[in-house]
């Protein structure tokens, strides 16, 4: 019988040698005359175990990892004889990191061949679309609204309400736009979907199209993700060939197609109106709102613009009903969120859980503490515009409202861990510096404020008494919070002020050093 072996081709797995392992394994099996199919999948998101090799057995898939090409010969020995290989992790589904998760959006990632429509359907794919085709547009919108799904890009706006506005707008053309400009440091969930289960996103966009009467979708993928761009393009072509995109989606008589676009290295294009400008071929400058993109979006037409994870949650909601989805979560944060454990962390990876997990549980019970082995001093949650939290706040629940109550934000669910060597004054300076580099320049608080912020923090780092410059930074931050046109300038104060509030000692170091000299 032909042996089936699974190895990830997710960019992160490739970054630690998955291709080399796959090649060596293929050659080793061939030289021994063993018939085997090596299926290239997405990643399970257990990145410290990559490159991970899974072998299908009667007892399910058995995992081995992290495997190097030097391990391949002994691994094949153990497959053909009895006896346990030292890298054997047992059944993959029983690995506690995975077993403790609630994977809805990521259920198929790492399991299926992402290029195969047949494999996607064999694992429950397109069930949501089948349901949606049988429903009226208003009923699809109703399902999504009742599920409580909120925008996973960070803003947390109810997805169903957005869709309803677009459904209610009348126009000769409407658009679905998928925001795949995942620029936040510490996040990789969108990338994993686009590489590991891209058809899920194709399905989500298609359902959105049916729901609001849009026949064309654009996806804007950042250029820093070349692997995701290629993987998603491949999936779109496969879906079109299989009749799931085109003039009559799955024989429904309704048209929907997707155009894949590449960003060009501008963080601010993750802001929805800047993204629309960029898609139209202009500089990615933020638009004033209103008008809302739902009424005047891409090329001036009514447009649903949603994050990858929002659209990827939709097929499950349609397939299993809104209630199954809404039963996960807490308060007004319903469903699951794929958290991403990143930075200086021992077990970095993707953890899809219902909202409500605490920061402590995420970084210790899943993450295992720092990779360096030193104590955790700070975490930054929600990307470069998210707050830095000290350990005293680690009991905070990872939910939109609970994070906001502590002057933080959940954003796109990225958690970056820092050990005790971190200098929060330097991190605060970086927050301003990043804003200098990435500001679109339209509004003054963001364009000028960020530069003045860098200069003022530099005075503190140079050893000036921090009292006066810190008062200036606070005043400047308030102006940016109140007066910026979008989240770029409006949220840059979050990392800055949280660093000052929670780690004031780091802003005294310059003065102490100068005094000692």
């Amino acid at each position: 019988m032909t042996m089936r072996i699974f190895i990830s081709k997710d960019a992160a797995a490739l970054s630690v040698g998955a291709d080399k392992v796959a090649k060596t394994l293929s050659a080793e099996l061939a030289s021994r005359g063993i018939a085997a199919d090596i299926v290239r999948t997405g990643s399970r998101g257990l990145f410290w175990l990559e490159p991970m090799v899974e072998v299908a057995t009667a007892a399910g898939r058995i995992a081995y990892g992290p495997v190097t090409s030097a391990d391949v010969a002994s691994l094949v020995d153990s497959l053909t004889a009895s006896g346990m290989h030292p890298l054997c992790l047992g059944p993959v589904d029983a690995i506690p990191y995975l077993a403790k998760q609630e994977r809805l959006t990521f259920a198929r990632v790492g399991v299926i061949d992402p290029t195969s429509v047949a494999d996607y359907i064999a694992h429950g794919g397109y069930e949501g679309l089948e349901k949606a085709i049988a429903l009226s547009p208003a009923d699809i919108v109703e399902e999504v609204t009742k599920s409580g799904l909120r925008g996973r890009g960070g803003a947390g706006f109810p997805t169903g309400i957005k869709w309803k506005t677009v459904l209610g707008a009348s126009a000769d053309q409407k658009y679905i736009v998928c925001n795949a400009d995942e620029g936040d440091s510490g996040t990789f969930a969108d990338r994993m979907i686009m590489e590991g289960d891209p058809l899920l996103l194709v399905e989500g966009m298609t359902i959105a199209g049916l729901a609001v009467g849009a026949t064309l979708g654009y996806i804007y993928i950042r250029s820093e993700y070349p692997h995701a761009f290629r993987a998603f393009q491949t999936a779109v072509d496969a879906a079109r060939k299989a009749g799931y995109l085109g003039a009559s989606v799955a024989g429904s008589g309704k048209a929907f197609d997707i155009i894949v676009r590449l960003g060009a290295g501008a963080y601010v294009c993750g802001e929805e109106t800047a993204l629309l400008e960029s898609l139209e071929g202009k500089r990615g400058i933020v638009r004033a709102k209103p008008p809302l993109p739902a009424l005047k979006g891409l090329f001036g037409k009514p447009t649903v613009i949603n994050n990858v994870l929002s659209l990827a949650a939709v097929p499950h909601i349609l397939a299993d009903g809104w209630k199954t989805y809404a039963d996960y979560g807490m308060g007004r944060s319903r469903g699951t969120l794929p958290f991403q454990l990143a930075g200086n962390i021992k077990f970095g990876g993707l953890v899809e859980k219902a909202f409500g997990l605490s920061i402590h549980e995420a970084i210790y019970e899943f993450g295992g503490g720092t990779r360096s082995g030193r104590p955790v001093r700070a975490v930054q949650i929600g990307g470069p515009l998210g707050a830095y939290f000290p350990s005293s706040l680690f009991d905070t629940a990872l939910d939109y409202e609970a994070m906001a109550a502590k002057k933080g934000m959940l954003g796109h669910g990225g958690i970056v861990v820092f050990d005790d060597t971190v200098d929060l004054a330097a991190q605060a300076r970086f927050a301003f510096e990043f804003c200098v580099k990435e500001s679109c320049g339209k509004c003054t608080p963001c364009r000028i404020g960020s530069t003045r912020g860098v200069e003022t923090i530099d005075r503190i780092l140079a050893g000036e008494d921090p009292a006066k410059p810190l008062a200036l930074v606070r005043d400047l931050s308030q102006t940016m919070l109140d007066g910026s046109l979008c989240a770029m300038g409006g949220l840059t104060p979050y990392p800055v002020l949280s660093a000052i509030d929670h780690f004031p000692e780091d802003f005294q170091r310059g003065l102490t050093r100068v005094a000692a000299e």
Binding site: G186, F188, A264, A266, G281, G348, P384, K437
Partner: protein, 165 residues
């Protein structure tokens, strides 16, 4: 559609070929970025001479074309080195020492971010997040992602790039 991911190996600028590339997307809505990516894919950069041609084909002003080219970090105004190394300097990579990696590149190898080495072998650029934040520090070498990068890895990349092929 071409792969649209620049690798650093590219042909010399050719006005006629550039015109064909631009014309191919003439009727596409919002064609500006795809055109610029195609040009950069073919030639490694976007030559100044393309500006009036794009403006004419897309029926926009030269100022608008110039504005777009200079707004986005990706588009180069001159050819890059034979290899392109993008080093992530966002927070997740900072937490595991990307500042040291960059200091090493600058001090030991005398390379500056955003510049090409004098022998033309390598261009080193900063990038903010490659989505490999659980395996930081991360770099992108000619479009290939590398994780858990050490100072030794960086030395090897730069030294290999400098060797004649």
């Amino acid at each position: 559609m071409t792969a649209q991911v620049s690798s650093g190996t590219a042909a010399r600028w050719n006005d006629a070929v550039a015109k064909d590339i631009i014309d191919a997307r003439r009727s596409e809505p919002g064609a500006m970025l795809p055109i610029l990516h195609d040009l950069q894919e073919a030639f490694g950069y976007v030559d100044q001479s393309a500006v009036p041609v794009i403006a004419d084909v897309l029926n926009v002003s030269r100022a608008e074309v110039h504005g777009v080219i200079t707004y986005y970090h990706d588009f180069r105004h001159a050819p890059a080195g034979k290899h392109v190394l993008k080093i992530c300097r966002a927070e997740a990579c900072q937490s595991v020492g990307c500042r040291d990696l960059i200091a090493h590149v600058e001090q030991k190898h005398g390379l500056e971010l955003g510049k090409t080495s004098p022998d033309g072998s390598i261009t080193v650029e900063e990038v903010f997040c490659l989505g490999n934040c659980a395996l930081s520090p991360a770099v992108l070498l000619d479009g290939e992602l590398i994780g858990r990068v050490t100072i030794d890895d960086i030395d090897q990349i730069i030294e290999t790039a400098a060797r004649p092929a």
